[in-house]
Structures are given as structure tokens and as C-alpha cells.
């Protein structure tokens, strides 16, 4: 059992993650189409603006835009969220333990964070997860829309990091913590394309390529 979790399951998880994400991306293109209208959103700031903008205009546009984002309405949550997501993406890629395994199986050594740094950032992620959990339990507006799945996804992320931390410090039985770590990590990877975590791809597609009220990029497509 443990041999399977350590061996083939890792590859299965990676394949499910990659194929699932690829399917999501194909689905975006299948469900949306290109349109001739290049900017359909009514935005008083961009009305009657033709030709090149001065640097000053561009900065004030950006400042004006920023004031309308959730970073200003919910500064604490968005700061926690940004820290959480940056660590969430960087850590698994640069943790020494992972790169040891990659070096073993591919024969190539990838750059890693110093161990103290990844260890600290792991704690930061755990703090962020606790913040999300408390917010979900305490705030009435969060309780009103929370389902079991929201807690499960958060728990999956929390357990992957917590067990990685425990294994690294060899707190409790190493065999058990590392097995739980590999299992939860694999489950999380596989769940990304099929749960709300699929926002990883959706965010970039929908905010940059689709025309709507809050398009960030060129916005050439409609659903």
C-alpha cells in the first residue's frame, strides 16, 4: 500500500492533474468564442481616450482601477490570500525534500529554497489556512454560502502542508506523517481540476481573455 502511494500514485496524480487542467483549458475555448467588439464595457475612464496616453494618465488610471478592486474593500483577506497563494505555488516547487525526489527519479537537480525558508513559509501557509477557516466559521456571510466541499478543500490543503511540516521535523512517526503527506498531496493535485481549485486556470482565462465588467487583458472573447 505504502509502496503504491510512494511510487505509481505520484505519477497517476501528476497525469490526472495535467490532463484535467488541459481539459479545462480546452473547455474554455470550446465554450467561448472570439468577437469583433474589442471593448464592450462601459468605462467612463476609457471613454473618448484615443491615441497614446501620457505616463501620468496611465498611472492615475491604474490607481483609479485599483481603488475598485477587492484589495481595497477587503485588505486583510486579500493580503492573506496573496501570501497564501504565492507560497502555495512556490513551496512545492522549491522544497528541498521534493527536489531530492525529483533528482532521484530524473537525475537532474533543481534549485531549492534554503530549508529554513521553506520551513518558515510552510508555517505561514498554515496560518493563512487557519485564517480562512476562522473566517468561514465566524462571518455570517461566509456561513451562508459554505458547504462541506469548502471545508474539505481547505482541510486537504491544510493537511498536505501540516504533514509535510511534521515529516520534515520528524515529529510523530515519520513513516505515518510522510505517507499522509504524500497521500494528501496527491489527492490535492488530482482534485484541482475537478473542484473550486480549478480557479487556478479559470482566473487567468476569465479575467484576461473574456470581455466583461472587470477585464484585465485584451478581452476578445465572450462566453
Amino acid at each position: 500500500m505504502v509502496a503504491h502511494i510512494r511510487g505509481p500514485m505520484v505519477w497517476i496524480a501528476l497525469i490526472v492533474f495535467v490532463l484535467g487542467t488541459a481539459t479545462q483549458i480546452l473547455q474554455f475555448f470550446w465554450l467561448s468564442r472570439k468577437t469583433a467588439r474589442s471593448f464592450a464595457v462601459f468605462d467612463p475612464d476609457r471613454e473618448n481616450r484615443v491615441g497614446k496616453l501620457s505616463l501620468h494618465q496611465r498611472i492615475s488610471d491604474m490607481a483609479h482601477y485599483f481603488r475598485k478592486t477587492v484589495f481595497v474593500t477587503y485588505p486583510l483577506t486579500m493580503t492573506v490570500s496573496t501570501v497564501f497563494h504565492v507560497c502555495l505555488i512556490l513551496l512545492p516547487l522549491f522544497v528541498l525534500g521534493h527536489n531530492e525526489l525529483i533528482a532521484l527519479s530524473l537525475g537532474h537537480r533543481l534549485p531549492s529554497f534554503p530549508e529554513r525558508l521553506s520551513d518558515g513559509l510552510t508555517l505561514v501557509v498554515l496560518l493563512c489556512c487557519s485564517y480562512f477557516f476562522i473566517r468561514r466559521v465566524v462571518l455570517a456571510r461566509m456561513r451562508a454560502i459554505s458547504s462541506l466541499a469548502d471545508y474539505l478543500v481547505l482541510a486537504l490543503v491544510g493537511v498536505s502542508f501540516l504533514s509535510g511540516y511534521l515529516a520534515y521535523h520528524q515529529i510523530f512517526d515519520y513513516q505515518s506523517t510522510i505517507t499522509i503527506h504524500m497521500l494528501s498531496g496527491e489527492l490535492m493535485l488530482m482534485a484541482i481540476p475537478f473542484t473550486k481549485m480549478t480557479h487556478m486556470t479559470f482566473f487567468f482565462f476569465n479575467r484576461f481573455m473574456v470581455i466583461h465588467e472587470h477585464t484585465l487583458g485584451r478581452g476578445e472573447r465572450v462566453w
Partner: protein
């Protein structure tokens, strides 16, 4: 009162992949709350939050499909007609199109004769 479920299911199926994807992507994070003026005006009642309105209208419809009752539709009708004015000001970090979802809810309610009545007290 009788509900014509095949009419509802036909409308649901026509936009199913897109609507289901939006429902799935919603992180249930409540960051859209403050962007809806109705939410702020109604003393920040969670039932006026954009995501709440979508989950309890379109979300319920896709979950129950043929099992939807007239009572359910009355509740959904109250949400899509009375708690959202389709002003398209809602701001979701993922850009989920809340008004488009409420619009589908209205379309479905209309087929079952549930709509906003201005001549009633």
C-alpha cells in the same frame, strides 16, 4: 400548482456547461458582497450577497432539476426578481458573470408564470 419541468430542464440544458463551470469555480469567498449596493443597503444581509443569490437560485435549479417544486420556484423567483436589479456592478475576483446567471433564473421563472408583479401590493 403544476410545474412544467421539461420546459425548465430544456432551458437549463441549453446553458449547462457554462453555468455548471461558474457554479463550480465560485470559491464561496464572499468577496463579491460589498460590490452589490442592495447588500449594503439591506444592512449587509447575507441573502443579498451576489454569490448567495446565484447559489440559491441557479445552483438549486441545477441541483434539483426535475425535482423542482412550485414552492422552490417561488423562492427562486423572489431572489431573481426582488433581490437583484441586474445592474452588473458586482465584482468577483474570478469575473464570474452573476447577472448572466440571474438572467437565466428570470427566464426560467417567466416560463412558469413567476415574475415581478407591479400591480400587487
Amino acid at each position: 400548482m403544476k410545474v412544467n419541468t421539461s420546459e425548465i430542464v430544456a432551458l437549463l440544458n441549453a446553458e449547462k456547461p457554462k453555468m455548471k463551470l461558474w457554479l463550480k469555480v465560485c470559491a464561496h469567498c464572499s468577496l463579491c458582497a460589498e460590490s452589490c449596493f442592495l447588500y449594503t443597503v439591506k444592512d449587509r444581509d447575507p441573502r443579498y450577497m451576489p454569490s448567495y443569490k446565484v447559489i440559491h437560485s441557479i445552483g438549486t435549479l441545477y441541483r434539483k432539476k426535475r425535482r423542482i417544486s412550485h414552492q422552490d420556484l417561488e423562492t427562486i423567483g423572489d431572489i431573481v426578481w426582488n433581490r437583484c436589479v441586474l445592474c452588473t456592478r458586482c465584482y468577483c475576483p474570478f469575473g464570474i458573470d452573476i447577472p448572466a446567471m440571474i438572467t437565466l433564473g428570470r427566464k426560467i421563472c417567466r416560463t412558469q408564470n413567476i415574475y415581478r408583479r407591479y400591480d400587487e401590493k
